[in-house]
Amino acid sequence: MDLYADNILDHYKHPRNTGGISRAISHREENISCGDDLTIDLVIEDGVIVDLEWRGEGCAISQAAMSLLSEDIIGMTVPDAEALKPDEVYSLLGVPVGPRRFKCALLCLHTLMNTLRAARAQPPQSWLETVSLDTPTL
């Protein structure tokens, strides 16, 4: 199956949940090597993510993955969101992501993890922790 499947291109050209929320927890991450960036604004109430908006610039994969992930995150409990793993992002994308593009696909997860950490006033985690399958519990 093609990396640039219709679903991916649809989310890239018509991204969901974009914008910004004032008085939200906000955090920005960047893939320095390619310049892709994402900013997530989160509203958490009683341990549940009740709203999320995002904005960013970059390749189709990084932007579509964020759009797809944003649809899943709204309504999710914080512990469930914190437990998200790279495999779950890959299955959302539904296309094979090769070793050249995994950072594009996982920038959304990395930004989300560090927005959640910002919500708890914790310092951001590294890419290694985001990508690793045995991330120590936050």
Binding site: D2, Y4, L9, C34, A60, I61, R100, C104
Partner: protein, 409 residues
């Protein structure tokens, strides 16, 4: 005599490869060139018939290996017009060659001395000097670029006239803009102001005849893998009187005359700078590559590449929203064309066309300061070599157009 690109292509086995159902359309030779059969054979032949450790032992095989290694050094000497074979130091690549100069020549500098670099350098000709600046209190001056992609000669003159510059480290040919730099003028200005000059010839060596004596550069570096040779070996040329004065770089076997518990005496040139077992098979491959280029004809290759660049430039300029980085006059470009397309990320573009067999480079091409100056995060680069054809360019343009219509919002 007409240039027979079909016969050139037959010598490169990888060009038979298919990506999916499409033939390989390799337009990324500025990153690394493909290798002709004779280079592959030279590496294999070394291992099959000559393999022994060079410069060690006196048995028959060691002698044969050493003779082959010395012959490779002589081939490089002739290729760049150096006076002595011992002015040719084999390194891992151009990056290591530049690091050698930064460390060894850098050791002779004092706090307050300055190094001048241009803004369009590859990271490999920036970071070693930044490391030197950090550790030894050396100042860095950035030579500005003119709007059309050349190092500004007048500004260079102003900076060097201050008299604190000990070395100017510049690329001979930009790996992004394809502009041939005014290195003769800069070498002249540098020497008048008491500075040495290092030329990063990584791109230059694949496209232009180099004569280090005529240029009068003090150091020159290039990698074999960009000149149709193997990976893992590069060249540093240095003027003998300078190489003799600066301290060794890496320490180890073969770079010494004597070692006692009290210390060591370095070996004579070139072994002073070649610590440890050398990449002898790769040196044989490099020599085969340089001989191959000369047999194919440097001038003929250059003319062929220029016609491809002219064709590619005019085709690319017809694409809506595509912006060429650097000069749009084909006479001012050698080897490569970088461009950006509004609203489309280079990684998406090259990933999509990659499936059609088209290999272009996407990213910042190890020139982040240049991309910052141009105010773009990344670009796409098309680069040509002796084996490319007009059909390669046309297939690439067609694939680009398809990818753009897929990706454009």
């Amino acid at each position: 005599m007409t240039y027979d690109v079909s016969s050139i292509r037959r010598q490169f086995p990888i060009l038979q490869k298919k990506i999916g159902n499409n033939p390989l359309c390799y337009l990324d030779s500025a990153a690394t060139s493909q290798k002709p059969q004779c280079v592959i054979d030279a590496v294999v032949d070394f291992y099959m018939t000559k393999n022994a450790n060079v410069n060690r032992g006196v048995h028959a095989l060691s002698e044969e290996a050493t003779v082959a290694h010395d012959a490779a050094r002589e081939t490089v000497r002739k290729f760049i017009g150096a006076k002595h074979a011992y002015e040719i130091i084999f390194t891992k690549n151009a990056t290591e060659a530049i690091n050698l100069v930064a460390r060894s020549f850098g050791d002779t500098l004092k706090s307050g001395d300055r190094i001048a670099l241009s803004i369009l350098e590859h990271h490999s000709n920036m970071v070693p000097w930044m490391q030197l600046a950090d550790t030894r209190g050396i100042g860095l001056d950035w030579l500005p670029m003119t709007d059309d992609g050349y190092i500004d000669v007048e500004a260079t003159d102003v900076i060097l006239k201050k008299g604190a510059t000990k070395l100017v480290a510049i690329s001979g040919l930009s790996n992004v803009l394809g502009t041939l730099q005014p290195i003769e003028k800069i070498i002249d200005i540098a020497h008048k102001n008491g500075a040495l000059v290092l030329i990063d010839a990584s791109q230059l060596a694949a496209h232009e005849v180099i004569d280090v004596q005529k240029l009068d550069c003090d150091f020159l570096a290039f990698s074999a893998h960009k000149t149709y040779g193997p990976t893992g070996i590069g060249v540093l040329f240095g003027k003998a009187e300078i190489l003799k004065k600066i301290p060794p770089f890496l320490g180890g076997g073969d770079m010494i005359q004597t070692v006692t518990t009290q210390g060591f005496t370095p070996a004579e040139l070139p072994r002073k700078f070649e610590a440890g077992t050398v990449a002898a098979a790769d040196a044989a491959g490099l020599a085969a590559a340089l001989n191959w280029m000369e047999a194919a004809g440097m001038k003929a290759i250059k003319q062929h590449e220029a016609s491809l660049i002219t064709h590619a430039l005019s085709s690319l300029q017809k694409i809506n929203g595509l912006q060429i980085l650097g000069p749009t006059d084909p006479k001012k470009r050698i080897g490569c064309i970088s461009f950006s397309i509004e609203g489309i990320h280079p990684h998406d573009l090259t990933d999509v066309i990659g499936k059609e067999g088209v290999c272009l480079r996407a990213g910042h091409h190890c020139t982040q300061p240049l991309h910052a100056l141009l105010q773009i995060p990344a670009s796409t680069r098309l680069s040509v070599a002796a084996y490319n054809t007009v059909e390669d360019i046309d297939w690439c343009i067609l694939s680009l157009q398809k990818a753009i219509s897929l990706l454009r919002k």
